[in-house]
C-alpha cells in the first residue's frame, strides 16, 4: 500500500522540482497549451523537445553503466492510437495535460481543479472497465516494449547522437535568426509578465 518513507520523500522532492519547472515554463497555462495546438505558441514543443534531447543522453548513459533500467511502455497499437485520440481531444478542450493540470491547481486555477477531479473520474472508469477494455487495447496486436534501436537493429547511441545533432542544429538556427525570434517573443508576451533569462 505504501512505499518506504525515503522513497516517498524522494518522490515528493522530485515532484516539487518538476512543479517549479512546469510553472516557470508557463506550460501550466491554458493559452500556452491551446496556443501550441493552434500552432501559434511553440513553448510546449520547445520544453518537450529540449527535455527529450537532454534526457536521452543521461538516461542511456545510466542504463549503459548499469545504474538504471529502461522503462518502456508496451507498444499495443490499438490502445496507443485510441488513447492518443482521446488524450489529444481532451487536452485541447481542457487546456492542460495531466502534469500541467496539477501544476495549474497549484497556481490556483478553478477550472484545472475541476478538471483534475474529472481526471480521477476518468481513471475510475478505466479501472472499473479494465477487463472489458483489454481485448480492445490489444485489438491490433502487442509488439512489446519495443524501442527504435531494437526495431531497426541499430545502436541507441546513433539515435541519441542524432537527437543531439538535430537539437544543436535548431539551437544554431535560432541563434543565427535571433532578432526575429526576440521580436516575436516580445509580441506574444503579456503586459506585466517579466521574461526570464533568455537563451
Amino acid at each position: 500500500m505504501f512505499d518506504s518513507p525515503e522513497r516517498l520523500l524522494l518522490g515528493l522532492l522530485t515532484g516539487v522540482a518538476f512543479g517549479v519547472l512546469l510553472q516557470k515554463g508557463r506550460v501550466a497555462k491554458f493559452p500556452v497549451i491551446v496556443g501550441q495546438f493552434i500552432l501559434k505558441d511553440w513553448t510546449v514543443a520547445k520544453v518537450m523537445g529540449t527535455a527529450v534531447v537532454v534526457g536521452s543522453l543521461g538516461v542511456y548513459a545510466l542504463v549503459a553503466s548499469g545504474q538504471a533500467h529502461l522503462h518502456v511502455k508496451p507498444f499495443l497499437l490499438a490502445g496507443v492510437l485510441m488513447g492518443g485520440v482521446c488524450f489529444g481531444v481532451g487536452m485541447a478542450v481542457f487546456g492542460y495535460c495531466p502534469g500541467t493540470g496539477v501544476a495549474a491547481c497549484g497556481e490556483g486555477k478553478p477550472d484545472a481543479m475541476v478538471g483534475v477531479l474529472g481526471m480521477l473520474a476518468g481513471a475510475l472508469v478505466f479501472v472499473v472497465a479494465f477487463p472489458a477494455l483489454q481485448p480492445v487495447i490489444k485489438g491490433l496486436g502487442d509488439m512489446g516494449k519495443l524501442t527504435l534501436p531494437e526495431a531497426t537493429g541499430t545502436s541507441p547511441w546513433l539515435w541519441v547522437a542524432a537527437l543531439l545533432g538535430v537539437g544543436l542544429a535548431v539551437l544554431v538556427l535560432l541563434i543565427s535568426r535571433r532578432k526575429p525570434v526576440a521580436n516575436e517573443q516580445h509580441r506574444t508576451d503579456k503586459p506585466g509578465v517579466r521574461v526570464g533569462s533568455s537563451v
Binding site: M1, V16, V80, V102, V128
Partner: protein, 182 residues
C-alpha cells in the same frame, strides 16, 4: 542578480534542460521515469477497493497488476504528483503569478463567460484525457517526455497521434484567429 524563483517565467529551453536533468535524477535515484497519469489510476483503484472491497476478487485489474508487480499504492509516483502541486504553488506564490480565473480569455471569447459551462466541460475533458492516457499507458510526461527520451516506439506513435488529434480539435474550436488571445 534576481532570485530565479521570483521570476514569472524562464526560457522554455532552460525548463526543458531542467526536466531532462530531472529525468536523469529520477532514473538514477528511484529507477523510475517521470510520469503523472499512473498515480491517478492507482488512486482510482484504491478508491474502488475502499468502496467495493470485493472488487479485489471480481475486477481482473487487481490480480493482473499484482502479477506485474504494479499493484496500486501510495508510492513514489503518487508523491511526485503531490510534489508537482506543491512546486507549482511555491513557484507561483514566490513570483506572484497566481490566478483564480475559472474561464480563460480565449475560452470566454469563443464560448462566453459562463463559469459552470467551463467547469463542466473541464471535468469531462479531463476525464476523457486521462482515460486516453491509461488506454495508451502514459501521458505527456510518461510517453511524451520519458518514453520518447528512451526512444520507445509506443511513445513516438502516441505523441504523434495526440498532437495530431489536439491540433485538429483546437483549430476546429478556435481557428487560427484565436491566436489574438495567445
Amino acid at each position: 542578480m534576481t532570485n530565479p524563483l521570483t521570476m514569472k517565467s524562464w526560457s522554455p529551453y532552460v525548463v526543458g534542460v531542467g526536466i531532462g536533468l530531472l529525468s536523469w535524477l529520477a532514473f538514477a535515484t528511484a529507477d523510475k521515469p517521470l510520469g503523472i497519469s499512473t498515480a491517478f489510476e492507482h488512486t482510482a483503484a484504491l478508491g474502488e477497493k475502499a468502496v467495493v472491497p470485493q472488487a479485489e476478487q471480481t475486477n481482473e485489474y487487481f490480480p493482473k497488476k499484482a502479477e506485474q508487480g504494479e499493484s496500486p499504492k501510495i508510492g513514489w509516483e503518487w508523491m511526485l504528483v503531490f510534489g508537482v502541486f506543491l512546486g507549482a504553488l511555491l513557484s507561483s506564490w514566490l513570483s506572484g503569478d497566481r490566478s483564480n480565473e475559472a474561464v480563460p480569455a480565449l475560452w470566454r471569447e469563443r464560448f462566453g463567460g459562463s463559469v459552470p459551462v467551463r467547469l463542466v466541460v473541464a471535468f469531462f475533458a479531463g476525464a476523457l484525457m486521462i482515460f486516453g492516457a491509461r488506454l495508451a499507458g502514459g501521458c505527456t510526461s510518461g510517453h511524451g517526455i520519458s518514453g520518447n527520451l528512451q526512444l520507445a516506439v509506443s511513445s513516438l506513435v502516441f505523441t504523434a497521434t495526440f498532437f495530431t488529434a489536439a491540433i485538429i480539435t483546437a483549430l476546429a474550436l478556435y481557428g487560427r484567429k484565436g491566436a489574438i488571445h495567445v
